[in-house]
Symmetry: C2
Subunit: 333 residues, 2 copies
């Protein structure tokens, strides 16, 4: 900053009557220096209010004590939990936390990574939009951990929508629904694929018909078209790619005078803030997003320290579950 001048390791050294190197050791590698001198140095450092300069440290040692998280859209409430979890864990680990918005663009993502690479120890990529191949390639040069996306060979923390999706189907089946429509998210969305896979499999197992429509923009604005499309498909149950889309659909359905859940049931994913506020309150698949954020940072830090001894990257999978609210009900006859 612009303050007069911060106290450096040299100030401490002079004041303590030792060499700078000794100060450095006393602080970082305490057993390398005599307890008496160490205590003295620590005391002096304390008194002078010495704080190591992270930049200088990083420049020399390569250890930046900083990580960056890249998010496709900070605005999307879906990411809040993950961001929060990651920030928290980072802060606990004494890491500086950089947040960057990539605006849903793989190019942006890549650029940000390259731009930031010198400043951080690693990246948490939330719902990355990049191609698998590109990701893998970048992972050779940089420390990457994925959240809510899996790529073979790369560490990741994901919420498994499989369990939740199966519960969706069971729930719907038990209410007498014979068919469902999945209103899909972005074409290249990993969770979208995962969700559809699970839904279809479960539906088949329950003798239910399942169709996929879309892709739709995973925002409330996409709900209009999605609702109309879903209605057109003639299903009694509409499963939206995420809550935002579901909420948009709810609006559209209300506009069209279609009763939910009387005529049609609606399900979302993510259990975002607001999912229980809308009318009717949304039945949705919830997952421990915050936990996923934490886990990702955890993986990142762990990775750094054991890089040699641990060739197999970790893949953390966290379970999801269905939260039943008012937007689902018995199938219309």
């Amino acid at each position: 900053m612009d303050s007069p001048r911060r106290t450096t390791i040299y100030d401490v050294a002079r004041e303590a009557g030792v060499a700078a190197s000794t100060v450095s050791r006393a602080l970082n590698n305490p057993r390398r220096v005599n307890p008496a001198t160490r205590d003295h140095i620590v005391a002096v450092a304390e008194r002078l209010g010495y704080r190591p300069d992270p930049l200088a440290t990083a420049l020399q040692s390569g250890h930046k004590a900083t990580i960056a998280m890249l998010v496709p859209d900070i605005t999307n409430p879906h990411f809040f939990g993950t961001i929060r979890g990651a920030e928290k864990r980072a802060s606990e680990a004494g890491l500086t936390f950089i947040l960057a918005n990539t605006e849903e663009s793989a190019d942006n993502e890549r650029n940000r990574i390259e731009r930031l690479s010198r400043s951080v120890d690693g990246f948490v990529l939330a719902a990355s939009r990049m191609e698998e191949e590109t990701t893998r390639e970048l992972a050779r040069d940089y420390n990457l951990v994925l959240v809510n996306r899996q790529v073979r060979g790369l560490p990741s923390a994901v919420v498994d929508n499989g369990a939740g999706s199966r519960q969706v189907v069971e729930h719907l089946a038990s209410l007498g629904h014979r068919s469902l429509v999945y209103l899909s998210g972005p074409h290249r969305s990993w969770p979208a694929a995962q969700r559809w896979r699970a839904l279809r499999a479960a539906a088949e197992a329950h003798g239910m018909a399942a169709r996929r429509l879309g892709p739709f923009p995973p925002r409330a604005e996409g709900g209009g078209v999605a609702a109309d499309a879903g209605l057109g498909a003639g299903a009694t149950a509409l499963v939206a790619h995420n809550d935002l889309l579901a909420i948009g659909m709810l609006r559209r359905l209300a506009e069209r005078g279609v009763s939910v859940p009387g005529q049609v049931s609606v399900v979302g994913y993510d259990d975002i803030f607001g999912a229980d506020l809308c009318v009717p309150a949304l039945t949705t698949v919830a997952g421990p997003q915050e936990e996923a954020g934490r886990a990702a940072v955890e993986l990142l830090t762990r990775k750094g320290s054991l890089s040699r001894s641990q060739p197999a990257p970790q893949q953390v999978v966290l379970p999801s579950h269905l939260v039943i609210r008012r937007s689902t009900g018995p199938a219309a006859p």
Copy 2:
């Protein structure tokens, strides 16, 4: 990161047949070097994929190209807009954006500032919880810009809830309300004070009675007590410190079978995501939060460059306005 070795300014220098200093100048201070050499150097740098190391640059020049934003509670949707605005502007200005959660604690805030001070050019403090005096003190050593808080002598960007608050009163008065209760936010909250001041003044001007209750935790969980307290005070209009609190109150009122807006009207502040989803949709004071975030970063960057010539710190004030939805209606007789 851990890649083999990045190309440095020396690599470029050697390859281009000039001194490192010339490369540096060619890139940062183009007019200081002959156009021909410059072009050549730039070309070589390009070819070698040279990227300056931000850490080394910062260490030497003191220019970190990084700012940090401190937020009391990342989880609170109220801040999303501000965060987004700030991040966006920072990114546009080529600044790295650090986000830190201070968990509603002034001590945390202070510590974070001190911890990060060496790594950043300045701080954006959103809804700071620190005492005026402490803040001013810190501002002597560090570059600070406040958001949604004003402290004399410090630059800030705030959403003026005055206009919105007056509109609230006018709106309620026109619906026949003769009294209102303000369910206050945290004791030391600057917006809380500001809101109450404006409400009271406007109420007086309209011959309306106004009382303040609280403080209440500015979260949905606080809504229960707040609603009960408000009801107990016997007012026909409840103005909550923010939407979260208002939503919590709505829930409690529904629980108690109190009709909104039939028996009592409810107003919030911030127009957060979800305010239009709840039942009844919330009448609330909206402000350009994203704009405030942008403005704050703007002030921060501007400040740096003109530090000498501009002694008077800027205070940006952005207007708010009332958004009328369903939670307000004619006063019960």
